[in-house]
């Protein structure tokens, strides 16, 4: 078994490289081999292999008894996953686009997330709810959101969002083994899909065999001394690109990949801000009442004296994601917006 510590995932010793999608599938397959109670269900998870390749090859390997294509009935099949989990199985259920949560939110937040609490801890709901998040390819306002802040706001579910292949595998393994419901949000832009502009880090080294990334542990993916950039998912890559570029100009960014939104690794954030004195939060979710505000608040609550300059945020400015390319890129947390925000902080 390998256990990724806070700094190891970008320099994992594995030789072979996988796309994030393949790493995610590998974790599911290994857990299905290990535990007969793990099974997969959702729309187009069988022969299609998942619209975003999140289940490719599982049907061939495990057959239709353990990889179940469902009707387009999110309330029914997510609810069914809950019922199966209550009976001790460990379903991995895919809600294709996170944007669709509205049609089945009752099952998610009133049932999946609350049964353990309402039962006074006597019933557990060990399931993984996966969904694709994020924009950047003109899919419009109903297919481009991140929404992790929405799930994080509602108590009772863990929320993770990997940015790279090794973490995708490690977090999926941890999510399947967790006795809690875990919402696992994968950004289309980090999956390494053949039909999307590829992020260069969407294919990377992934440990073979059992690999776990603990849920609730952020990762300092780039150490730096001038500014802490706290972010997650695809924005980690934008932040790293900007950091490399600004290093040429003498600005040293530390990049923290949250990996888990719930539980949130406040200690790693505070440690980093304590060293750099400056905080930028980059979030592809909406600006208001979300992850970026939460992180700034936690730093301000613990020790506002850590900040040498007011904290800054780059997020989607409370507007539905537009369709037209220039409009969409005007609201997404692009490298250009991140760069300007970092420079604003160091020049403040």
């Amino acid at each position: 078994m390998t256990l990724t510590d806070a700094s190891a995932s970008s320099s994992a010793p594995a030789q072979r490289k996988l796309s994030t999608a393949k790493a995610m599938v590998e974790a599911i397959a290994q857990e299905m081999e290990r535990d007969e109670d793990v099974f997969v269900l959702g729309e187009d998870v069988g022969a299609y292999g998942g619209i975003f390749s999140s289940t490719t090859g599982l049907l061939e390997k495990f057959g239709p008894r353990r990889v179940l294509d469902t009707p387009i009935s999110e309330t029914a099949f997510i609810g069914a996953a809950i019922g199966a989990a209550v009976e001790g199985m460990r379903p991995v259920v895919e809600l294709m686009f996170v944007d669709f949560f509205g049609v089945c939110m009752d099952q998610i937040y009133n049932h999946m997330a609350k049964i353990h609490f309402e039962s006074g801890g006597n019933v557990t709901v060990p399931m993984v709810l996966t969904a694709a998040v994020g924009g950047g390819y003109s899919d419009g306002a109903q297919h481009s959101q991140c929404l992790w802040g929405t799930f994080a706001h509602l108590p009772g579910m863990k929320v993770v969002a990997p940015s790279n292949p090794a973490d995708a595998k490690g977090l999926m393994t941890a999510a399947i083994r967790d006795d809690n419901p875990v919402v696992y949000l994968f950004h289309k832009g980090v999956m390494g899909l053949p039909w999307m502009a590829k992020n260069r880090r969407s294919v990377g080294p992934v440990p073979e065999g059992e690999h776990l990334v603990p849920i609730g542990k952020a990762n300092v993916v780039r150490p730096g001394s001038d500014v802490t950039v706290v972010t997650l998912s695809l924005s980690v890559h934008h932040a790293l690109d900007v950091a490399e570029e600004l290093a040429q100009q003498g600005v040293d960014c530390e990049v923290v990949d949250l990996r888990s939104v719930v539980p949130l690794d406040t200690e790693t954030i505070l440690d980093s801000v304590g060293r750099t004195g400056r905080l930028l939060v980059v979030d592809e979710d909406y600006l208001s009442f979300g992850v970026s505000g939460e992180i700034v608040a936690r730093v301000a609550e613990r020790d506002p004296g850590l900040l040498r300059a007011p904290a800054a945020r780059v997020a989607v400015p409370d507007v539905p994601i537009p369709y037209a390319r220039p409009l969409e890129y005007a609201v997404l947390p692009t490298p250009d917006r991140i760069r300007r925000a970092v420079l604003g902080l160091v020049n403040a």
Binding site: A76, G79, A80, I82, G83, P91, I115, S119
Partner: protein
């Protein structure tokens, strides 16, 4: 039916009615003179099931603790008929630390893993998890079944239809039960539902549907027996709708000013009707080992013991308010 079976159904109905009458008394006793919903020994909303006993008694007579039941926001009759621990259930309703959910759930959120019982305060949303429980039973090669209960108002929710379709598609061992008490809070069935019977809707999913018209526990028992046998044999789901009776308000404190059928309600009470039937058949007597009075006394003793247990149980320590959001893996 054998006399013993008939007596069993009667006992269950008496226990439920005794329970509901006692909860009603405890609930109101401490909320007077001015009704204050959050005050007293039992705070919050209270939905009692008096009049609907035949549905729970008739269905659950076919079940064991290995079978699952998901009930509605009006859950007590099904919980009792399915054998949920009466003391811990009552402690939960009183919001006490020995309750099924250690005081986190309340009367609409009763969870008992020992009998695979659960309920939901959200209309129709207990159906999909029941389908999932049935899926787990099927995958494990058991002959266990899941029973999902809704009211007739909930049959117009998407979850109801999605669950029926999925269960029918995968031939899952589920029995869908619709309690038609004529009223969705204040809206009559005629103003909410386009079909005369939700049993007709089963046909839309290619599964058997049967409507039991007269709130007869033995008719429910027969219909449920067919459906549960079919489910256990791997032949898939069925739907049973029972035209039952909401004897009291939607919730306690509901003045029912909207209710047009109130006058005829007492005469439709299923408990005296069944009692009369069993007396006429010579199953129930006023003298001998098993009498109407002895059955009533046994029920009273059990209910009193449960309420005493609940009252003795401490309220949860406020310092534990944040416990049990997450399981420790």
């Amino acid at each position: 039916m054998e006399p013993d079976e008939r007596l069993g159904l009667y006992r269950t109905m008496v226990l439920i009615r005794t329970y509901e009458e006692s909860i009603l008394r405890e609930y109101h006793a401490d909320k007077k003179p001015a009704f204050d919903i959050g005050a007293g020994l039992i705070p919050g909303e209270m939905h009692l099931s008096a009049g609907q006993e035949p549905v729970a008694a008739g269905v659950c007579a076919h079940l064991t603790a290995d079978d699952a039941v998901t009930a509605t926001h009006r859950p007590h009759h099904f919980a009792i008929a399915h054998g949920v621990d009466l003391e811990r259930m009552t402690a939960e309703i009183f919001g006490r630390v020995d309750g099924l959910g250690r005081g986190r759930g309340g009367h609409m959120h009763l969870f008992d893993p020992a009998t695979h019982f659960s309920c939901s305060g959200i209309i129709a949303e207990g159906y999909p998890p029941a389908v999932g429980q049935a899926l787990a039973f099927q995958r494990r090669g058991t002959d266990r079944v899941a029973v999902a209960v809704t009211g007739e108002g909930a049959a117009n929710q998407g979850a109801f239809h999605e669950a029926l379709n999925l269960a029918a598609l995968w031939k899952l061992p589920v029995v869908f039960v619709v309690e038609d008490n004529d009223w969705g809070i204040s809206v009559p069935r005629s103003a909410s539902t386009c079909v005369t019977s939700n049993a007709l809707r089963a046909g839309g999913y290619g599964i058997p549907g049967e409507r039991v018209e007269d709130n007869s526990v033995e008719a429910v028992h027969a219909a449920a027996g067919t459906a549960i046998t079919r489910a256990r044999a791997g032949e898939g789901p069925s739907l049973i709708e029972v035209h039952t009776l909401r004897l009291w308000g939607h919730f306690e404190g509901d003045a029912q000013g909207y209710r047009s059928d109130l006058e005829g309600v007492p005469g439709r009470d299923p408990l005296p009707t069944y009692e009369k039937q069993l007396r006429a058949a010579g199953v129930l007597h006023d003298s001998g080992d098993i009498t109407v009075a002895s059955i009533a006394a046994q029920a009273r003793d059990r209910v009193e013991a449960a309420i005493e247990f609940a009252k003795r149980s401490p309220e949860p320590d406020p310092a534990t308010a944040l416990d049990h959001v997450f399981a420790r893996s």
